[in-house]
């Protein structure tokens, strides 16, 4: 296998919160192949968004990366000078396009901005390329719409603008954090279609962060499942859905309501996702897990390989014994 494009190794991110230190992301590792599509799936509080912000070095002042390395094409991003990479080699799309776009700047100028900021081309050409990109993400009449301000657009159109801005420099990696969560389902279908097409056209690798297993199933090749700040399972998408290795993944898959399931009752995982201030010791899922044994609440389970493309951090794969 070629060198991965993005490699995250042992990432732990800490936040100061009222005198205490909390770690919403702990010892997280994964990699993304050149041109590949990786999904990070988890519920609120799983640490998936903090992981994205850590990679992009967009953490608030109260947070810092405690341990771990983030390699982009073999170079440590801690030493690379993030401002030259972010926006040029790594594009990003966030959930809420209204707060991510500048309200007082015309959308055409915002899309062109990263081209001029990184001195990729002169302003006139940047403008033309921005309009071309707006056309490619499916904005009708892009010359005229480029003159609009974000508030004149619908949520779906703003998300197209965000995607155009993220892709205009032809980045090698796109990090998309819940890019369709705030959108209606018919608009979500349009946006996923655009992301899929742009990925094919530009060869951009994608890290797609979402809580939606349906989006995961349709869009990515490999998946990292996070729960309460840790990776609990990683797998190729087919194995994950067919043969999940972690009880949390199993529960999540059973809990998803399905369109063609006639059963009246939904499967429910007991209990609640713990906040980062109250992560339990051992396996963090143990208090909600039907299969838990005493070892689970005492020791953090190691990641056990189940196949070359799947591993799960669960003691059941060692027969509940420490190796």
């Amino acid at each position: 296998m070629n060198n991965p494009l993005l490699q995250v190794e042992g990432l732990t991110t800490a936040f100061r919160a009222g005198g205490a230190l909390i770690r919403p992301v702990q010892d997280v590792s994964f990699s993304v192949a050149q041109g590949g599509a990786l999904g990070i799936v988890g519920e609120s509080g799983s640490g998936k968004s903090v992981t994205a912000l850590s990679i992009l070095r967009l953490l608030p002042d109260t947070a810092r990366i405690e341990t771990g390395r983030i390699l982009f094409d073999g170079t440590d991003l801690a030493t690379a000078g993030m401002t030259s990479v972010r926006g040029r080699d790594i594009g990003m799309v966030f959930q809420e396009p209204m707060t991510s776009l500048n309200p007082v700047l015309r959308v055409g100028d915002q899309v062109a901005e990263s081209l001029t900021l990184h001195n990729i081309c002169p302003p006139a050409e940047a403008r033309a390329r921005a309009i071309d990109m707006l056309r490619r993400v499916g904005l009708s009449d892009p010359e005229r719409r480029a003159q609009d301000y974000p508030h004149q657009m619908s949520g779906g159109m703003r998300q197209r603008v965000m995607i155009a801005g993220a892709l205009v420099c032809r980045p090698r990696l796109l990090i998309a954090d819940e890019p369709t969560t705030a959108l209606d389902v018919t608009i979500q279908a349009q946006i996923l279609d655009i992301l899929r097409r742009m990925r094919a056209e530009l060869g951009t690798a994608i890290v797609l962060i979402t809580h939606d297993l349906g989006v995961i199933a349709e869009f990515v090749e490999s998946v990292v499942v996070m729960y309460a700040g840790r990776v609990v399972e990683r797998a190729d998408v087919a194995s994950l859905f067919r043969n999940p290795g972690h009880p949390y993944t199993t529960g999540l898959l059973r809990a998803v309501p399905r369109l063609h399931d006639v059963q009246r009752r939904l499967y429910q995982i007991p209990g609640n996702v713990p906040p980062p201030t109250r992560f339990p010791p051992g396996c963090r899922f143990a208090p909600r897990c039907a299969e838990a044994r005493p070892i689970c609440t005492e020791h953090v389970p190691p990641e056990i390989a189940l196949s070359p493309s799947q591993s799960a951090a669960c003691w059941k794969h060692t027969g509940f014994a420490r190796p």
Binding site: S44, S154, P257, V262
Partner: protein, 322 residues
Amino acid sequence: MTALLDIENLSKHFPGGVRAVDGISFHIAPGETLALVGESGCGKSTTSRLALRLLEPTTGSIRFNGEDLRTLSPAALRRRRRDMQIVFQDPYASLNPRMTIGEIIAEPLRVHGLAPTRAAMQARVAELLDRVGLPPDAAARYPRQFSGGQRQRIGIARAIGPNPSLVVADEPVSALDVSLQGQVVNLLQDLQEQLGLSYLFVAHDLAVVRHIAHRVAVMYLGVIVETAPADRLFAAPHHPYTQALLSAAPEPEPGAVRNRIILQGEIPSPRAIPPGCRFHTRCPLAQDICRAQTPPNQQVAPGHTAACHFAAPYPIPTESRR
């Protein structure tokens, strides 16, 4: 059987020419769940508030147990409200942070004079907490001490306190993580069985609706485009919008063969509703008649109506899908 709630030709227009709800009719039988589904701006939340007369309709009638809520005096309406309660979408915004859970649940009981003594009130609050699966000591605590799923249980306990016959649930699980949605959906079903409640369940997530609704009404731009028993709606949708909505929902089945209909364009503004069929600007089947004439509500099977000139099972042919 007479309907518990019978709504006819209901509309709500807001200043500035916004036709949020534009002449809709539906009914809910005792013990039944009707789901009102649609995307943002379709008028489903406005409808849920009109049904309880929390908003004043522009036209139409709302019959509750045979009595037109629009003709009731304010005092009579207040008494009627005991029978009609609501659960809101956002479990964080809908509970007063400075009241204890006990006070929150007791409030509607007090307003309607349903617990004459302090002891009776405490007993009733404890019973309600138990019904929704919360411990008795929750009564002395504050909303911030509970998670989203638990807060939604508190909202449900508050709603069922006065023994209503109808509960309007406005996107009650949309803000919850998927591992918690089941807890709330199953609780609502248990309570329906135990108490004989009727639900008007407002949602955008068709998969959740599949599990809870007996019947489904699909809204688009202020009107109902299709109504059918849930099994039928999912098996044989007759309106192209319903089809598109069903096909757009991503399913957790990798590699599944999909016939996705990707609708072009945006949902028009309720300020500038297209003439003829409101869906024609995005409909892959639209013909001249759709641009000119509002389609009538056609009965395509018993209890199943669709407002489309070309209503048919699977009207959108496979070749125009992706």
